[in-house]
Amino acid sequence: MADIQSLIDKLKGKFPASIQQLKTFRGEVTVTLPKEDIYAICQFLSSDSELQFQFLTDLCGVDFFPETPRFEVVYLLYSMKNNLRLRLKAKVAQGESIPSVESIWKAANWLEREVYDLFGIPFENHPDLRRILLWDGYEGFPLRKDYPVEGPDFDKPFVLEV
């Protein structure tokens, strides 16, 4: 059984240059990584026989507008073997893309589509990158901080013009 400290040590030993920031809040460990390394590190974490992060619990986007780079993609990993959670983060600037982890965890398929749909962050090598909750042809990305809450036509009555 690996504990969280040995996990961090192992990650540091394997990818010493990649760990940009390491934070613990309320017992939850968050590691910030460059987006170029996210695929290799996820591959390592899921396939390592001791760590076995075989379960991708969640993947979501966060918008820190007006900071630059404005987006963060957050991965929440879980290891059933060690009963450990680990949060990975990667910063993505507007207009940039991030490697997809769909080939490691199939769970990422829809989760990445959702991030693409609501934040407009494209994922490289995703097999089916389409909007998921909103319809094709929808304009804008609603979970971005600069997206208006009240909508462009909110003050117009909801009736068809004849």
Binding site: V74, W110, W135, Y147, V149
Partner: protein, 390 residues
């Protein structure tokens, strides 16, 4: 000439067997499904965006409306996340009441699933039985919280009010009768040849696949993975209750059926244990900044009235940070990931809906099977579109 080997048909979004507004585009080779493409989002209400513009208290009623068959469980997941952010200690009695309500809600949610799933496959009788018992639970909720489908019973720091007089006897009567009711459902289904033929070997998904697809809940356990948030990462005093995690072996619709039936029995046992061991004491944390003051105090002294006004209108200011808390809802692992920037509303509320990931594995389960089995498989993974689309 156009390719005519496969026929594409559309199923839903308005279709009784899709349990909500799910649209499936099925490519068929005769009666065999070659490719299935789910289309979701018809019920998208932008709950995550709404959360960024509300105080922490104001978001609780929205969580009821995610998986509307499991309102208490949704409340619980959200308040646990906020309490983790605040590092707030919850009174024991409130923790037990939360467990009791969450487990009653799990039974109610599984009863809806059982009734409607079986109805999809042509058995009309069980739904009348299951809705009879569900009504008992909703009556209990009505007395306890004031609401039936969307009770909004939980509060940040505890629960909204203590149990009313006489409700404990009613819960006890329900608990005592319920194991007999489960036997009734079983006599109708478990060894019924039609039921076995419709569900055995249908919608199979392997142990490796459920984990890789991020599937949780009874669908995960039906495939033989003995994992439950209540056991793996206990919350709200679940470690003080005795229960087992039922698992299947094959991972077909029948296994998921058996797992849910056994789960209802264990939930019933947990409610019973909670009722017997229910500690005395307050039902909400004593912190003056977070929970609303009691109603009697608000009507009697000016300081509480001011506090009530301030908390209701302005809310509270948690520290900067990010937390993730999850519960085992009726559908699987329901998690809330909250980022706080130190202001009185969340910077980001991310909901990790179990049905979303469970549904994403649907094509894996139905491709290669008969079109009539699509209905069985959708029913057996028990999705609620309210939480998928959010």
């Amino acid at each position: 000439m156009a390719e005519t080997r496969f026929m594409t048909i559309n199923m839903g979004p308005q279709h009784p067997a899709t349990h909500g507004v799910l649209r499936l585009v099925l490519e068929l080779d005769g009666e065999i499904v070659v490719k299935a493409t789910p289309h979701i989002g018809h019920l998208h209400r932008g709950v995550e965006k709404l959360g960024e513009n509300r105080t922490y208290h104001q978001f609780i009623p929205l969580t009821d409306r995610l998986d509307y068959t499991n309102a208490m469980g949704n409340n619980l997941a959200y308040v646990l996340a906020v309490e983790k952010l605040l590092d707030l200690e919850i009174p024991k009695r409130a923790q037990y009441l939360r467990v009791m309500m969450a487990e009653l809600q799990r039974i109610a949610a599984h009863l809806i699933w059982l009734g409607t799933h079986v109805l999809d496959l042509g058995a009309t009788t069980p739904i009348f039985y299951t809705f009879r018992e569900r009504e008992d639970i909703l009556r209990i909720f009505e007395e306890v919280a004031g609401g039936r489908l969307t009770p909004t019973y939980l509060r940040i720091g505890g629960v909204s009010k203590d149990l009313p007089d006489g409700i404990e006897e009613k819960i006890k009567a329900f608990v005592d009768a319920f194991s007999g009711h489960v036997k009734e459902y079983e006599t109708l289904l478990t060894e019924n040849v039609i039921w076995l033929n419709r569900t055995k070997g249908v919608g199979i998904i392997s142990r490796e696949d459920v984990i890789n697809w991020g599937v949780t809940g009874p669908t995960l356990r039906g495939s033989g993975v003995k994992w439950d948030v209540r056991k793996a990462l206990p919350y709200s005093s679940y470690d003080q209750f005795e229960f087992d995690i039922p698992v299947g072996s094959v991972g077909d619709a029948y296994d998921r059926y058996v797992v849910r039936l056994r789960e209802m029995e264990w939930s019933n046992s947990i409610v019973k244990q909670a009722l017997e061991k229910l500690p005395k004491g307050p039902v909400i944390a004593g912190d003056p900044k977070v929970p609303l003051p009691p109603k009697e105090a608000v009507t009697n002294d000016i300081a509480s009235l001011i506090r009530q006004f301030k908390i209701a209108s302005e809310g509270f200011y948690p520290p900067k940070g990010e937390v993730y808390a999850s519960v085992e809802s009726a559908k699987g692992e329901l998690g809330f990931y909250i980022i706080s920037d130190g202001s009185n509303h969340p910077f980001r509320v991310r909901i990790r809906p179990p049905s979303f990931l469970n549904l994403s594995a649907l094509p894996k389960m139905i491709e290669g099977s008969l079109i009539s089995d699509v209905v069985t498989t959708i029913g057996s993974i028990d999705i609620v579109l309210g939480e998928i689309d959010r």
